[in-house]
Amino acid sequence: MAGNTSNPAGGNPAAGGTEPAATARTGLGQGPGRLLVMLYGVFTVAAASRSVYQLIAQYHEAPLAYILSAVSAVVYAFITVSLVRGGEGARKAALVCCAAELLGVLAVGTWTLADPSAFPDQTVWSDYGMGYLFIPVFLPVTGLLWLRRARRD
């Protein structure tokens, strides 16, 4: 291994595909991504404000539901920021979070149907997001598809 390959671009010429675009940030928040940024932004605000209000005002009524809403808000916020920032690292992080989000919706959705007594109040992900027009289910699937496609471009 040669020790003097101090290429400012940081690319290895032997690896192929060393065009400048390789170091440029991928536009995760452009084109269809713009629509995703908007929807994730809306859900971040909705889930965060809802859980903050409920945790403060009525924590004792359904702590589990409100904490799950807060967790979903954090996930949404992280994906929104990743989409806006762009770049390969953000894309991979967002990919992991979208997968976690999908699993979360499916798990919480099943849980709320299987054991309604654990949830005296609704969460964002209750009944697979029925209270939110099922968007919580479609959003991570769309996000995963978009993030997969963004790598190829």
Partner: protein, 122 residues
Amino acid sequence: MIDALTVALGVAALVLAAWCGFAAYRDQPTKDWHFIGMAVVAVLAIVQLVIGVVRLAGGADPQQGVAIFVAYLIGSALAVPIAAFMSLAERTRWGSATVSAAAVVLAVLEVRLYDIWGGIGG
């Protein structure tokens, strides 16, 4: 008064959503006329915010709580302007789709606002 405005705003938001959705379907970015439409809806939402706050100051009490009512009022005043700026940055069909989606969100917020305000006043 505020109920009538809520209904009008909900309908206007749906019309805006359909209009911008049509532009997205035809693979067009938002144009000047779309922005005029967005401005009309945004102004209505701001008027609603002002009337809502004035009514609260006058002692009215929304059925489901003041904090939630104000949060929804602010959210509905911000939805369309934010989408408008995003569509300025995205001069493709996806800019139109973004405005369309935001307008649907606004319509949903109006339905919720109608519930939150409850049977108080008219």
